[in-house]
């Protein structure tokens, strides 16, 4: 049973009041956050007010929806009316949105209890969470290891039982990679399944919001709640396949699980072995393993970085020190003010990506880089479509390695970019993918695998993930931190 269902039953049976539950989470955040740094803003007062409203409903004998009263957290790049939203960047110091992101509006309408905003790499640019202006979130399995990024805080909070679930955003792996590092489940939905309204933009054609949870059931429940069409995001169509939670457990005998050989290239042995073991588990469950080649994958990483940086350089043009956030103290003229504000407000990695994006979009380089990358994007999409003619889901490692020790990521940008090699193809192609824990390395750090699906076919990958979870529960272990229910 999923954690959300467990909490729901405890609330409905009156074993626990929503206020008691929320207080328990807030107390645990108080004691564990100095070590984990998962939260950058805790909204205790608002959480207790929301909990009191749920208790009032219970006292009146009213029925409770599944997500009502369940304590959760939002990544700090999702707009929350009146609550600090900084993208973990100095440049958004003090910024309090005047509207809610659609995802939060949807969950708030179901009386979700938000405990706070979670840590992330600045503007979601990074793979270790260490690019946060608040310092990185740490791994609940070992605090000397990073939580992953960019949604490191959400994964650390869920892995550390400091929230029942969290919402992250995934531009090139930012939900799946930290979920993999922290032993959690992370779903990156199909591009266009979930509204991006109110999500502070990094790369608009790649960004997508999704859940980070303890179990596959929880991921399905949260996905179903947030995947609605939204007139305020013209690319958002909502889910197309009906409620995924109700489709969990349907038969997977005869399901074709594809493995692209390229996904296993350069992957560390322990990770590769865990993924191949999972393939055996699927065979035992009656699925058929199909090997195939996807040679175009070797271009995915440069294509991703060109497109993502190009879009970022444009999206981040809005930070000028005039309308919101940080503004430099001393300047001479408007140009000087904007340059100083941006140079002082953005961190090193963000500046690097803005410069790179500006480079690939500038005259003389546009055709060689940006145009070529978008053309290749079409090729990658076609290659995935062709692959799905032969299989129902694709099984791959989420990350070529397990969580690295803190401070390791800072040294070499290219080496850090390489950690995204297994996650970015899905964003380029707009496909859904879910990362689930599939083992541990010798040090006891979690290994994750991802199941990639056809466009808008979240139901199939979640069902496949659910069967794996039932067959290999030993990989879904808990940490010492947080609330125990």
């Amino acid at each position: 049973m999923g954690l959300i269902q467990t909490i729901h039953e405890k609330l409905v049976s009156r074993e626990l009041s929503c206020t008691e539950l929320t207080k328990a989470y807030l107390e645990q955040i108080d004691s564990a956050n100095p070590a984990l740094n998962a939260y950058v803003c805790v909204t205790g007062e608002e959480a207790l007010a929301a909990a009191a409203a749920v208790d009032k409903k219970l006292a009146a004998g009213e029925e409770l929806g599944l997500l009502e009263g369940v304590p959760m957290a939002l990544k700090d790049n999702m707009s929350t009316k009146g609550v600090l939203t900084t993208c973990c960047s100095k440049i958004l110091t003090g910024y309090k949105p005047i509207y809610d992101a659609t995802v939060w509006e949807l969950l708030k309408a179901q009386n979700a209890v938000m405990l706070g905003k979670t840590n992330m790499d600045e503007f979601a640019m990074g793979s270790s969470c260490e690019n946060s202006c608040y310092g990185g979130a740490m791994n609940p399995f070992d605090v000397n290891h990073v939580s992953g990024g960019s949604s490191g805080g959400a994964a650390s909070a869920v892995g550390g039982n400091l929230a029942a679930y969290g919402l992250g955003s995934d531009t090139g792996g930012s939900i799946r990679q930290p979920a993999s590092f922290c032993g959690a489940v992370g779903l990156k939905p199909t591009y266009g399944a979930v509204s991006r309204y109110g999500l502070i933009a990094y790369a608009s054609s790649l960004d997508q919001i999704g859940p980070i949870t303890k179990t596959v059931e929880d991921a399905a429940v949260v996905f179903d709640a947030i995947s609605k069409p939204d007139p305020r995001d013209s690319t958002c169509l909502g889910a197309k396949g009906g409620a995924t939670a109700q489709q969990l457990g349907s038969d997977i005998k005869g399901m074709k699980v594809g493995i692209a050989r390229e996904y296993l290239d350069g992957v560390r042995d322990d990770v590769k072995q865990a993924v191949l073991n999972a393939a055996k588990t699927y065979e035992a469950l009656g699925a058929q393993i199909v090997y195939f080649d996807l040679p175009v994958l070797k271009f995915a990483l440069p294509v991703y970085y060109i497109i993502a940086c190009a879009e970022a350089s444009s999206n981040l043009g809005r930070y000028d020190g005039i309308r919101y956030g940080y503004k430099t103290a001393r300047y001479n003229g408007t140009h000087d003010m904007i340059c100083r504000t941006r140079s002082e407000g953005f961190g090193e990695e963000v500046k690097r990506r803005i410069l790179l994006g500006t480079y690939v979009l500038s005259a003389g380089y546009y055709d060689a880089y940006y145009k070529k990358a978008t053309d290749l994007r079409g090729t990658i999409i076609k290659a995935f479509n062709d692959a799905f003619a032969h299989c129902d889901v694709i099984l791959a490692p989420t990350v070529p390695m397990t969580a690295f020790e803190k401070g390791h990521a800072a040294s070499d940008p290219i080496e850090t970019y390489l950690t995204d090699i297994c996650t970015v193809p899905v964003n380029i192609a707009g496909l859904p993918a879910v990362s689930v824990p599939c083992g541990f390395n010798q040090k006891g750090m979690p290994i994750g695998m991802q199941l990639i699906g056809k466009s808008f076919d979240e139901a199939t990958i979640l069902n496949a993930a659910y069967h794996y979870q039932q067959a290999a529960p030993e990989n879904f272990t808990d940490t010492k931190w947080g609330v125990k229910l």
């Binding site: 175009v296 940080y326 500006t358 070529k372």
Partner: protein, 92 residues
């Protein structure tokens, strides 16, 4: 080949100042990333092309007037404001 002048020019376009002492290091790291990105030039020429992910096409809707956010609310986040406007001083 990324030169110091390229980086200076791109920084100007990006409205970012790069301190003199960081220019060489940044040029080198930009060159490394561009070398890495150059891998795509080994890719086969593509006929696929790309417009948007879900093949959406532009549609028009009725122009419905809905309430705007109050000016005072919007200005709450501004570093400086005056008379219902964002305030930009020429120097500080």
């Amino acid at each position: 080949m990324v030169t110091r002048e390229d980086v200076e020019n791109i920084a100007l376009l990006s409205k970012l100042f790069v301190p003199e002492e960081e220019l060489d290091g940044l040029t080198k790291s930009m060159q490394e990333i561009i070398d890495f990105a150059d891998a795509i030039n080994n890719a086969p020429a593509s006929a696929e092309g790309f417009d948007n992910i879900n093949n959406l096409s532009n549609v028009f809707r009725e122009d419905e007037v809905v309430p705007s956010y109050p000016v005072a609310e919007i200005l709450k986040n501004a570093p400086e404001q005056a008379e219902d406007h964002f305030l930009v001083r020429n120097r500080e």
